[in-house]
Structures are given as structure tokens and as C-alpha cells.
């Protein structure tokens, strides 16, 4: 549910895996509620783009796992599956009696992937967390920020897609293991642990700092790591650009280009592009040490140049000379980006309830077996009947009885996520 698990199973679904997403009237994916549609319109729960992007290429069934019949049918599905992925709180699958041993009893080589935020064991395993909490726990927030300012959050729930990508890869590793040994396993992705490696050099650097016998001023050291857009060895930053007049109010200057210069050759190229070749021999900038000492001054000079051109023109001119640069793309520009368009990254999807729009294509790009969006996200319970009938062999009467008993459902209960 939500983002971590679904983003991981989406990677597998994109590759062609048959992914069956299980929801119920009282336990449905919260992303369905984040639709921002006024009214809301009828069938709002099938129209949230956040849900529809993350669950494309999957099938959807409703099964109330808290009922005996729902649990039994879930086990029957597990018995014909290779993998079960869950990102409930740590204690939920045990309470549902759908834990690894329960699944193994019906499918001895099953691979269960559990993704609780804090893991399944340890004194804090009962804690709950979303993706922003995960980046706080993992230490990323403490080393992110503007110079001289406090910790800063990412713009996204950063822990979720990271845990999802790790879970998808671990699933494949477990499948490769099963292929060789015929053994399944229970894979545990503690979302907190899954993210620490992303800032692992700071974990080591802190130990080096303390090991030096330096004063272990934790706050001072942490603040010193927060260097905004700068870098330890490269001279770099984001610089304001001219906003094209058709893009609205010229007073709202919010177009930026990122530029990063390391070697003397790159610096010379930058000087050439901005029409100031004399800077190459300027004592303030002549070598990498001087450039760092006069970083602010250099930023001001580069900013003067960028201010008179669009972010696209600035980046293109710099790249033509071999200088790493990119526009800081707003999402509308990202979706128009000529490069991504040329690569066919955006794919048009047609959804029976939500209509047609463009979404990002699969990001694991395979040359011989290219993947595409071949299936829109499931409407709530869209495939309940066909899965129960075609995969589990239930009769029409049994299927009708399940709905009458509330094991399956046609609509989610809105109050769960209101």
C-alpha cells in the first residue's frame, strides 16, 4: 500500500511479472484518496494519478484479509505465486496469520518480502513511519540543507521509492537463489536501514572525525556537512536564468541552471562560454584552491551571465563546450524535455475511469526485451471476479456469496482515509 511497496512491485510489473494487488473495503490504498478532484466525482478512488502511476501494469483484487474466507483465498493465491510483497506495519501479517510460516505451509518455496519501516525486530519495531520519517531516521535530513541553516527535508517521501527499488532487486536475488537451490526465503527490507547506505560516507566520516581526537561537537560537525548545492572539490551551484516571457510574470524569476566545474580545463571552458577568458589567468580563480576561496565571487560572475539567457540555452552552450550543466527542470518542463521525448520516455495510458494521459515509462530499459506501460492501474476490485474464477476456479455462485459476505467489495469505504 501507499508508495514503498507499490513502487517496488511496479518495477517488477514493468518487467512483465503478473502482479496482483490486494485491497479491501476497509484496507485500501491511501493513494486512491489523494486525487485533488473537486466534488469529489463519482468513482474518485479510480482517478487518483498518484495511485494510477504507481500501480500500472498490475491487476487488482479485493479480499478482506481479516475474514476467514478472505485469508483462505489469499493463501490460495500465494500457493500459485512466486513472491508475496507486503509493507504493512511490522506486526500486521502475524496478526492476519499470513506470516512466512503460514505462506510456506501452502507454498514451500515462497519468497516473502516484508518492508516495515523499522524492520521486524528490535526495540523500535512497533514504531510507524512514512518516507519522510525514514530519511530523518536514516540521517539524510541531518546532512541536507542550506549552508548555515538547519536540516532539510527532501521534496518527496524519499525513503519510499528507495525501499521499493531495494525490495524489487532483493526479490530478483531471491528468485535467482531459488532457481539454484529450490529454496524460498523471507526477505526483510527495513526502510530505515535501506537508506543509510545512501549517506554511508558520512557515517564513516563522522567516525574518522571522532577518531582524530577532534572535539566531537555533533551539532557543529553536522552543520558543516550542510553545504547546499556546493561540493567538497568541485566549484558549482545553481544560477538564476531569464524566464521566457511566455512563461508568466518576469518578476517571478524561478528558472535556474546547475553548473559544476572541476578541472582547470572545465574552468577554462566555462570562462570561454561566458565570454570572460581573462578569468583563466585571474589570480582569484587560477587554480582549484583559489576558486574555492573565491567561490562567492565566481558565483556572482557566473550568475551575471546566466541571468541573460534561458536555462535551456545556458545548459546547451555550456555542454557544447564540455562543461557539466543542466536546467533545474520544473515538472512541466521535464515533461516537455526534448531528450526524454526523443527517448520515448512518456507513454500515453488509457484508463477506463480516469481517461487518457501521459505517464513515465519503465526505467529499467532493456535493449532486447523493452518494457512498456501495457496495462492501466486496476480500478478498485477490477479483476476480483476474473482472478477468483480463472486463477482459483471459483464458481459464479461462490463469487457472488463472497461479495454478499463482504469479503470482496466494489467500493472502498471512504472514511478510512478521510
Amino acid at each position: 500500500m501507499v508508495w514503498a511497496g507499490p513502487s517496488g512491485t511496479r518495477l517488477l510489473a514493468d518487467m512483465g511479472a503478473e502482479v496482483i494487488k490486494v485491497e479491501s473495503a476497509r484496507s485500501w490504498d491511501m493513494l486512491r484518496s489523494l486525487h485533488f478532484l473537486s466534488g469529489p466525482p463519482e468513482g474518485w478512488y479510480d482517478k487518483a494519478a498518484y495511485f494510477n502511476h504507481n500501480n500500472r501494469n498490475k491487476y487488482g483484487i479485493t479480499l478482506d484479509l481479516q475474514t476467514g474466507r478472505g485469508r483462505e483465498l489469499a493463501l490460495r493465491l500465494a500457493a500459485i505465486s512466486d513472491v508475496v510483497v507486503e509493507n504493512y506495519r511490522a506486526d500486521v501479517i502475524a496478526k492476519l496469520r499470513l506470516d512466512y510460516d503460514d505462506l510456506r505451509a501452502v507454498k514451500p518455496d515462497i519468497i516473502l518480502v516484508s518492508m516495515p519501516s523499522h524492520g521486524k525486530s528490535g526495540p523500535e519495531s512497533h514504531h510507524v513511519a512514512y518516507g519522510t520519517n525514514v530519511e530523518q531516521l536514516a540521517g539524510l535530513a541531518s546532512i541536507s540543507g542550506y549552508p548555515g541553516m538547519g536540516p532539510h527535508k527532501s521534496s518527496i517521501a524519499y525513503g519510499d521509492p528507495n525501499a521499493g527499488a531495494i525490495a524489487a532487486a532483493a526479490t530478483l536475488a531471491a528468485l535467482l537463489h531459488r532457481e539454484r537451490t529450490s529454496e524460498g526465503q523471507h526477505v526483510e527490507v527495513a526502510q530505515w536501514e535501506a537508506l543509510v547506505g545512501n549517506i554511508g560516507e558520512f557515517v564513516l566520516a563522522w567516525q574518522m572525525h571522532v577518531g582524530d581526537g577532534s572535539s566531537p561537537d555533533i551539532d557543529g560537525w553536522s552543520e558543516a556537512q550542510r553545504i547546499g548545492n556546493r561540493h567538497g572539490t568541485r566549484v558549482q551551484g545553481v544560477y538564476p536564468c531569464a524566464t521566457p516571457t511566455d512563461q508568466g510574470d518576469a518578476g517571478m524569476r524561478d528558472d535556474w541552471v546547475a553548473i559544476s566545474v572541476g578541472s582547470d580545463a572545465e574552468f577554462a571552458a566555462l570562462c570561454g562560454v561566458i565570454g570572460s577568458p581573462e578569468l583563466i589567468r585571474d589570480a582569484r580563480f587560477a587554480d582549484v584552491v583559489s576558486r574555492h576561496h573565491h567561490h562567492d565571487k565566481l558565483d556572482a560572475i557566473v550568475g551575471e551571465w546566466t541571468m541573460s539567457r534561458s536555462q535551456d540555452d545556458a545548459a546547451s552552450e555550456l555542454q557544447a563546450a564540455g562543461v557539466p550543466a543542466s536546467p533545474v527542470l520544473r515538472i512541466p518542463r521535464l515533461m516537455e524535455d526534448e531528450h526524454l521525448r526523443a527517448r520515448g520516455f512518456w507513454e500515453t495510458v488509457a484508463h477506463a475511469a480516469a481517461g487518457e494521459w501521459d505517464m513515465e515509462g519503465p526505467v529499467w530499459r532493456m535493449s532486447r526485451t523493452p518494457a512498456h506501460v501495457r496495462l492501466p492501474a486496476p480500478r478498485f476490485g477490477e479483476h476480483t471476479e476474473c482472478i477468483l474464477r480463472d486463477l482459483l476456479g471459483l464458481s459464479d455462485e461462490e463469487i457472488a456469496a463472497l461479495e454478499a459476505e463482504g469479503v470482496t467489495a466494489r467500493e472502498p469505504r471512504a472514511e478510512v482515509h478521510a
Binding site: 523500535e124 540521517g139 527499488a165 535501506a194 554511508g200 560516507e201 527517448r343 530499459r365
Partner: protein, 398 residues
């Protein structure tokens, strides 16, 4: 039990962060990763640090030590004809090659997928770069900053009245490397079933564009730009970072977490206040809600807030520093950090694997010294005799 990937051998021709992150993850689960570095110089991250005492030393860079655990290290100059030939010969004994070069560089080196496939039709080549292997920007140069800028997260991060802010460390490159890890395994899985390899391509820009949370999907669908602003540390009052007495905490409460949050903050008076009674009202009165939370956070420590979070199962977390992480009772009870000894860098505690696979109790092994495993690779694997190593070394190939 065996490690899940112990039957795989990977040739790693990458440097820096993204490629080494991909192969580090493969090595963590048992793959035999042969990391190839430029003779005399090595991976660029060897020069980056941080270093103990601030003194550069190519065997003591924290970034290199972190990203190259578990690999074997060999030196090889693939820009020489002999070096290229040796790379292809190693690839002939591998399941996958991981590359981070732009397409023009691969063409110049004659190390494209087709070059590898000619010697090993089952080979998977994973290319992890900023912009991918095709398209008008495929040969654009990139660093972590410019890659982050190209993927959409950068614009949204930071304060509304300031410039966009990148996340700390090398997040764009880490994202690319982590996704390349899975892509490599997916292609290997397919190659094992079909007998045919292929190129798996991961572009940092696309990875980041695919994980823009609600922001990209909502814009793509509704074409409304209302969400597309930088919001500093507060997405809303209920999703943000707050200062506490000894640092910061984060709150992330969705509507279904509200009762637990009120329990933890002891603020159930809000239940009867029309400004905060339901989610809609709270969003209308976001500033007032934030003010209430600031009042509460100003009187607690990280530890106190986190204890209340656990007691009431409310989504509140400390903003952990590195010292907090290393001292975490939870991570330590779980044995997350692993002591790794290194002849030049000493013993330090390294983050453990991101996923736990019981079929492979994973023990981290230290990063290789420059050229440490040349004999194993060139003599044991490729069948050279020992004196050939001296010849290759004098020629500058290894």
C-alpha cells in the same frame, strides 16, 4: 546457506558513485565483483575523501571505502589495446559488465554492448549514466548536482524564496546506482532463462523523474501547477521538520494517523475545535496548526518525542545525526552496523546491507587496495603466468 548471488561474476568498469553503488549492492549479496581501476590512479572516489585528519590518501577515502566493500580490485587501462582485450577476456568469464561511460566514450573505447556480446552472447551489460545511451543529451556531461537538477527533485526541494536545494551527499547518483542493481538482476534472470544477454540501461534523469511522488503524476493528469512549489521543511503542518530542544524531529501524519498523533502530542482538545476537527479544516488552518505543533516541539527533546511516538504509534521521528545513528539502540540491537577492518583506514562501523536475506548471512568485506587482486584476476582467472604481470605492469596496462 549460500549467498543468493554467489554464482554470479560481475566486471565493474565504473568509477565515482553510481556504478560503484550498483556493484557494491551486487557484492553485498554474494556476487564476485571484479572492480577495474586505472593503474596508478584508481577510482576517482579515492581522491574525494573525507579522509582521516583531512590528509588525502587513496586508501583512506570514506567515499571509496564505503562504495567498494566486498569487491576484488584489479588495475587495468582499458584505453590501451591490450587493456581492452583483457577487459573483454574477463567479460568472457562474467555474467554482467557494469559501465558508467557516455555512449561516445563507449564507442571510442570499443566497449559497447555488441563488443562484449561478440565474446559472450549471454553477457548483460548495464549502463548507468545521467541521461542514458540515446537521445540528444546522451553525451551531456554530468555530476551529481547537474543530474539531480535534470530529474525534477531539485526544483521542488528547498525554500520558496531561495534557490533550489540539492539533498546531501550524492543522492542522484545513489538513486541511479540502486536502480541499476535491480535492472542488472532482471536482465541476468532473463539471460539465465533464454541464454541471451542484453543491455540494461538506467538513466539517473529517468529514475528521478519516475519517483516524483504525487507531484509528477498529479501534474501529468490534472495539468494543475498548484503543488509544484518549493515548500521548505513543511509540505503541510502535518508533514514537516520541527525544531526541538536538542535538534529536530519530523512529523508525517496522514488522516488515518491523526488520532495517534493527538495521543502522542496530548492535543485531543483539537477534536472539538472547528479549525482542526477534520482533514479539510486542518488544511484550511494549516498555519495555526503549525503554530500549535511548534509550541509542543519547543518543549521536548528528540528522545522524548520519539518515545511518545512509539508509545502511541504516531509517525514522528528524530532527525538523526551520524552520532545518533551509530548509537541507535534499535539499529544496534539489530546488528545493522558491521565492523570492518582495513589496513590503512583502520576499523570502522559500516552500514550493513539494505535488505536482509536470511539465506545469506552477509558479512561485509573491506574495499580492495589498488590492484590488490591482480594476481587472482590475471593469473588465476585468465591463466597468465606470474611473470606476465610484470610485463603488463611495465607496459602500463595494469
Amino acid at each position: 546457506m549460500a549467498a543468493p548471488l554467489e554464482h554470479l561474476r560481475i566486471l565493474d568498469l565504473t568509477s565515482g558513485v553510481a556504478g560503484p553503488r550498483c556493484t557494491q549492492l551486487l557484492a553485498m549479496y554474494g556476487a564476485d565483483v571484479i572492480k577495474v581501476e586505472r593503474p596508478g590512479v584508481g577510482d576517482e572516489s579515492r581522491g574525494h575523501g573525507p579522509f582521516p585528519g583531512g590528509v588525502p590518501h587513496r586508501e583512506r577515502s570514506a567515499l571509496f571505502l564505503l562504495l567498494n566493500t566486498g569487491k576484488r580490485g584489479a588495475t587495468l587501462d582499458v584505453t590501451t589495446p591490450t587493456g581492452r582485450d583483457l577487459a573483454l577476456r574477463i567479460a568472457g568469464r562474467c555474467d554482467a559488465v557494469v559501465l558508467d561511460q557516455r555512449p561516445s566514450e563507449l564507442a571510442r573505447l570499443r566497449l559497447t554492448h555488441d563488443d562484449f556480446a561478440a565474446v559472450n552472447p549471454r553477457i548483460v551489460t548495464t549502463s548507468v549514466t545521467a541521461f542514458g545511451q540515446s537521445g540528444p543529451h546522451a553525451d551531456w556531461r554530468a555530476t551529481n548536482l547537474t543530474a539531480f537538477a535534470s530529474g525534477g527533485q531539485h526544483y521542488l526541494t528547498g525554500d520558496a524564496d531561495r534557490e533550489p536545494l540539492q539533498n546531501g551527499g550524492y543522492q542522484a547518483l545513489h538513486q541511479a546506482g540502486t536502480w541499476a542493481f535491480g535492472a542488472t538482476l532482471a536482465a541476468i534472470w532473463d539471460a539465465r532463462r533464454t541464454g541471451a544477454g542484453q543491455q540494461a540501461e538506467v538513466a539517473a534523469q529517468e529514475v528521478m523523474a519516475s519517483i516524483l511522488e504525487i507531484y509528477l503524476p498529479d501534474f501529468a493528469y490534472r495539468k494543475a501547477e498548484t503543488l509544484l512549489t518549493r515548500r521548505g521543511n513543511m509540505a503541510t503542518a502535518a508533514v514537516g521538520i520541527y525544531p526541538v530542544l536538542d535538534g529536530h524531529i519530523g512529523i508525517h501524519a496522514m488522516p488515518k494517523n491523526w488520532p495517534q498523533l493527538m495521543d502522542a502530542l496530548d492535543m485531543h482538545w483539537m477534536d472539538d475545535d472547528e479549525r482542526f476537527r477534520d482533514n479539510r479544516a486542518r488544511l484550511r488552518n494549516d498555519d495555526e496548526l503549525m503554530a500549535q505543533f511548534y509550541i509542543w516541539t519547543a518543549g521536548v527533546t528528540k528522545t522524548e518525542a520519539y518515545a511518545l511516538a512509539g508509545k502511541h504509534r504516531a509517525p514522528i521521528s528524530p532527525v538523526n545525526t551520524m552520532a545518533d545513528l551509530l548509537a541507535s539502540p534499535h539499529l544496534n540491537a539489530r546488528g545493522f552496523f558491521q565492523e570492518v577492518d582495513h589496513p590503512h583506514a583502520g576499523t570502522m562501523r559500516y552500514p550493513g546491507p539494505p535488505a536482509r536475506m536470511p539465506a545469506s548471512p552477509p558479512q561485509l568485506r573491506r574495499a580492495p587496495l589498488l590492484g590488490e587482486h591482480n594476481r587472482e584476476v590475471y593469473v588465476d582467472l585468465l591463466g597468465f603466468v606470474r611473470r606476465d604481470l610484470a610485463l603488463l605492469s611495465v607496459a602500463g596496462v595494469i
